[in-house]
Symmetry: C2
Subunit: 333 residues, 2 copies
């Protein structure tokens, strides 16, 4: 099943099931991104928030809370919190990466300026902070504070690990936990925490989000070397041009002979890239089965995610989360 | 009394009185700015945190808590929180302002890069968030979340108000509350909140911090047009060159004749500045008593700050806070 399958996709099924909750989340997001004093804020955020991302992270929070039987109002606050943190991270990422495109549209730093992206990101982060305080749960705040620190640390680690051929799969995993999995796992865990689940269920929700997030990021990194530009909104080879050490390259570097090592040194470490280098990089990835092996890793994480679900109550939403884990990898099959 | 007065200054007296608390704050700051995975983080933060700022904000928190009789451990966490938020804001400010100098030293964005400043700022903000969660007080979190939102909103407002001659004193006050007073008032208020003071005392602490912060920023903006570079670590005329509408200029613009208005339009709105423009701007500020009137406003805010102290318990620290309010304005006398 590819991205263009005619069948209804798991995240769309989740979206339908959670439609009224998601409507409340969207209303809260619109309400809280307003600013009486600084109209630049809603301009920039609307560009991003309404760009039609899949809203996967808030859906994970809603699904976790609902499948644990939560019927209070605060899953909506937490879902909006998670989306605000995500959006703030995207704004800062685009400044750091000097990106010109996001989800197939020009980035905010291109449309406005880096200043607006930095400050509006800060604003969204502080708004997310207000939203979670409204839940009145110190436990929730603790989880989200720790996730925020992991995200920020992972971003800095990625910055310093970039261009460094000594980057191992272990460091890659730390970066991935920071840039993606920390927010996924916090999103699922807090859904359980407000439903006051027991520790085993909370742990299962965390494990599911963590494994799904890692799987998601590995697939994203794979698509960068072989995806469909229209579907991903990214250009093939962006990571190569930005000299990022992602899983396929780390595997190929580990298996490189002397000449190949020189190639990676020149293109990634020294950044001296020429016409034809991307094609040669793709050949080396193929030669060393790097794409296939990374895909196997992604499948392993999807299996871990599904195994974690066994510890959750039986529920229609649990089945959708299972299908979602399969679907994340199916994007590259 | 000027900056170079031989007498011991109020913030130094506060520092002496609170020396053991401040030592605990400094230790906590060093401990929490460490990062096992990303050594870039302590490099950047050490540059700033150890640059020898006056640590005014954490001292305000410690002083508030102590003068309200607090004897638990969490005033140290909150003081470190406030310093981390301040440092994160400085890192992001320097990216936004494209500054090359801070406190007379090169800025982090110059020594490393904008990316590091953005991401390490995010890291410090998330670390501050963890520190405040440790206090276990939702009320404290609420105050600091609201302060963070006010700070971020004020920064965006400053961005859009810059270069706009229609900026009023009212908008200036909003910007100043965001960029400075919100953190001062949160710093003093949370010191009282953890000491479980009654609402009138909490309000007085807030009012003191708010007025002191506004006073502090007005003085800072005045010094930009007439300060001693060595003492401020800034160059005279930085705000003019960056086309910032600060209080003296707002007053001079309001009183400008047609020719003067054209001058402000050209230099601030259009940013077409020539040799001699700064000198002419200073002449116009003098002609319209703009500096003197802004100084009178600062004195008014110092008086408001001192009046708020009347509602606090009698205490040696209260006298130091009173002297501090006088001292802030004395910097320009």
């Amino acid at each position: 099943m590819g991205l263009d399958s005619a069948a209804i996709k798991p995240h769309e099924r989740l979206g339908k099931y959670l439609a009224s909750d998601m409507a409340a989340v969207n209303e809260l997001i619109r309400d809280r991104m307003a600013s009486k004093h600084a109209p630049r804020i809603p301009e920039v955020t609307a560009h991003l928030v309404e760009a039609g991302g899949k809203r996967l992270r808030p859906m994970l929070t809603l699904a976790s809370a609902r499948l644990c039987g939560y019927d209070g109002p605060f899953h909506v606050h937490l879902a909006a919190t998670v989306e605000f943190i995500h959006t703030a991270t995207l704004l800062h990422d685009d400044v750091v990466d000097e990106s010109a495109q996001r989800r197939g549209r020009p980035t905010a730093n291109l449309l406005w300026d880096n200043k607006s992206s930095v400050l509006v990101g800060d604003y969204l982060f502080s708004r997310s902070f207000q939203l979670m305080v409204e839940t009145g749960s110190i436990r929730v705040l603790d989880i989200l504070a720790n996730a925020s620190a992991t995200i920020a640390e992972g971003e800095v680690l990625q910055l310093t690990a970039a261009q460094d051929l000594a980057t191992t799969e272990e460091i890659y995993l730390q970066v991935v936990r920071g840039k993606t999995a920390a927010l996924f796992s916090a999103a699922t865990q807090v859904g359980g925490v407000i439903a006051k689940v027991d520790p085993a269920v909370e742990q299962a929700l965390y494990d599911y989000g963590d494994a799904l997030g890692i799987c998601f990021q590995i697939v994203d990194d794979l698509l960068d070397y072989g995806g469909d530009t229209k579907a991903t909104g990214k250009n093939v080879g962006d990571d190569f041009r930005e000299r990022k050490l992602t899983l396929p390259v780390i595997k190929a570097v580990a298996r490189a002979d002397a000449a190949e090592r020189d190639f990676w040194k020149r293109t990634i470490e020294k950044g001296k890239q020429e016409d034809g280098d991307l094609e040669h990089a793709l050949d080396l990835l193929a030669k060393h089965n790097a794409m296939e092996d990374a895909r196997a890793d992604a499948l392993g994480w999807a299996a871990t995610a599904k195994a974690a679900l066994e510890n959750l109550p039986e529920h229609e939403l649990r089945e959708m989360l299972r299908d979602l884990a399969d679907y994340v990898v199916a994007r590259i099959s």
